[in-house]
Symmetry: C2
Subunit: 380 residues, 2 copies
């Protein structure tokens, strides 16, 4: 079965979908792996690395697509690329199906089996394929490094003959995968860390990392089966804002990681809270790209409001692209291996599989995912 | 006694010589403190902060200088500024007297009492005034953050469902104040750290921080009374280079902090060693500004050689300018307080003092420092 891996084309993207080590593993499964030249360059892997691992190289991108039975990618295809994908081909990538309606329709009409990495269910067995988590984990690490690099003071306490420098105060909003890694990294660097999450169940995890959990009584909150926070009511959001206001004013660093699956993230840090912080303080808004947790954050930019820096950089895992590529590549492989038929040496689109059907968006000319189908048909 | 504090004028310098808290302490000693407007801006201190602390403000820079009895500064004066300093005034700042011969002559002829912060002797009692150490300490922290921000992988080990990421390998050359802090910071972030120093005496300190000390038998080496490494012979340097070559080739990050007091730093990492590293690796050359420990490093720039990034950024403490200002300000205050006469409420230029004479370069129209005098007269 021919697995093709084109080069990523998104500007600034240095992550690559598959690393040489994974190519080796795919070949061991019996797959034929073909890559586009320079596919691994962004993360420091040369064509020679891939050739050594057993891949062959196809310099003609159109041919690469035309002859593919499975396409392994990182970012969603562009609309222009969809006609290049053969009907019946399995296309695995991020897809953003909640928002990319036109793209989903195009993939459906093209007869592509489009698998969305975002839709891997969050179960124990599928963790190994969960790219959202693997990338969020690295993003959490990056947020703290970015903050530390922009802060005019150090994170750890330092006792010196010239006096003692107090540890920086870091407040982390949202203690999901990214938030927990941000907490761990800030703690490693010696900061005094406080965190909040609307899911009371994570308080213990926060505390086990050595951070303080900010207690706010929001009444009834909870989490989805997938482990995401459920959306708050406007009253609950207001209550949270008020309760965290003082903590934010006293913080040197605020990192916001609040996401609600499939929806616009909530604005948790308002303009007056930003203005309440000391000049020189730093906010990292991990949600900037999708709407922002922080009022005034600009996607892809660092802006200054009253001397407070707000970092809205998108694609944080890209900062540690090599490790991010390793993790994503591993996620892809684990998915492929899990549905691979060892007899026929083929990727099997099996709608009886426990994980696969949930992340197939289109197949055989249909939108097979019920949630996405509902949205496309005007539901919500 | 009137203490004047002008604004720093060096491009990009955000550290400030004196913070408001120190102004308060100077006023308590009985000093009259006058600052130039905007003196603290770089590190986030407003004129109001200084007014509240007891300072007054003199917007006329010429007048500020003309009426000063003591000038407290961070960077050395420019040659053009020397005629602005009143004869008999005490001018305390970095001075770089080993290299700034013309400046030292000008200060001598102007009749200034020029005190060089670099020349504070490294004794137990003078630690509190030692700006080289306080700034090197912060610089060591900054080197690791810079490296981590440029590295395409993370520093800590991470065990995830998608696989395990190994800890980054960090090699630190020179385990003085900066090197030790770099080791501590890299260890905090979870890296696997190896270090080397020509002074065998620091092996224990390196190991107590959890790092591996690279054993290289260089024969006779040692340190000065001030704790600096003594200069190696060309043969010893070559031996060190060979012995560290393999470690460098296997390292993700190399940080060089080797300084020899008053001399050009040694080149420890040669071009072939840089080329032996994996693409994506990062080198931070802390000595780039004064000549460089790394072949190919460029002062103030990040260059790429064979995919290896070499960071030659100057003035690393400036990255954490607020804490650097706090430390420097505290160093200045500790020096002033130590020689302050409480009766007359004056800074006393006392050549019987145990610390002061060593760091006075010029006084009463003479070059009083024997080492510097010798250099100026053509010695070495």
């Amino acid at each position: 079965m021919r697995i093709a891996i084109p080069k990523e084309t998104h500007p600034g993207e240095n992550r690559v979908p598959v690393i040489p080590e994974t190519v080796k593993k795919l070949c061991l499964l019996g797959a034929e792996v073909v890559i586009e030249p320079g596919m691994g360059t962004g993360s420091g892997f040369s064509d020679e690395h891939y050739l050594d691992a057993g891949a062959s190289i196809q310099p003609d991108r159109n041919k690469l697509f035309a002859e593919a039975e499975v396409l392994l990618r990182l970012r969603k295809p562009t609309l222009e690329e969809v006609p290049m994908i053969p009907s019946g081909c399995v296309h695995i990538s991020y897809l953003d199906p909640f928002n990319e309606h036109e793209l989903v329709r195009a993939l459906q009409q093209q007869g592509v089996t489009a698998i969305s990495m975002e839709m891997i269910p969050r179960t124990t067995r599928s963790q190994k394929m969960d790219a959202l988590s693997s990338q969020a984990n690295l993003a959490g690490y990056v947020t703290v490094l970015l903050a530390a690099n922009h802060l005019p003071s150090i994170l750890p306490m330092m006792m010196t003959p010239a006096g003692t420098l107090k540890p920086a105060k870091v407040f982390i909003l949202g203690a999901g995968v990214a938030g927990l890694q941000a907490i761990a990294t800030a703690k490693r660097l010696g900061a005094k860390v406080t965190a909040f999450d609307t899911r009371p169940v994570v308080a213990e995890q926060v505390q086990s990392l050595g951070a303080t959990f900010l207690e706010i009584d929001l009444g009834d909150t909870g989490e989805t089966a997938g482990g995401y926070a459920t959306e708050l009511t406007p009253e609950q959001i207001e209550k949270q804002r008020q309760a965290q206001k003082d903590v934010i004013a006293q913080s040197d660093v605020v990192i916001t990681t609040a996401q609600v699956f499939g929806r616009k993230p909530p604005v948790l840090v308002t303009r007056d809270m930003v203005e309440g912080m000391q000049p020189g303080s730093v906010i990292v808004d991990m949600a900037a790209e999708t709407g922002g947790n922080v009022e005034g954050s600009v996607p892809g930019e660092t802006v200054e409001v009253n001397g407070v820096k707000i970092i809205g950089q998108a694609n944080l895992p890209n900062n540690v692209c090599r490790d991010a590529s390793k993790m994503y590549s591993s996620n892809l492989f684990n998915l492929v291996e899990d549905v691979w038929d060892k007899e026929s040496k083929r990727f099997v689109v099996d709608f009886e599989h426990d994980i696969l059907p949930g992340c197939i968006i289109t197949h055989g000319g249909e939108v097979t995912n019920a949630t996405i189908k509902n949205i496309l048909e005007g539901g919500n």
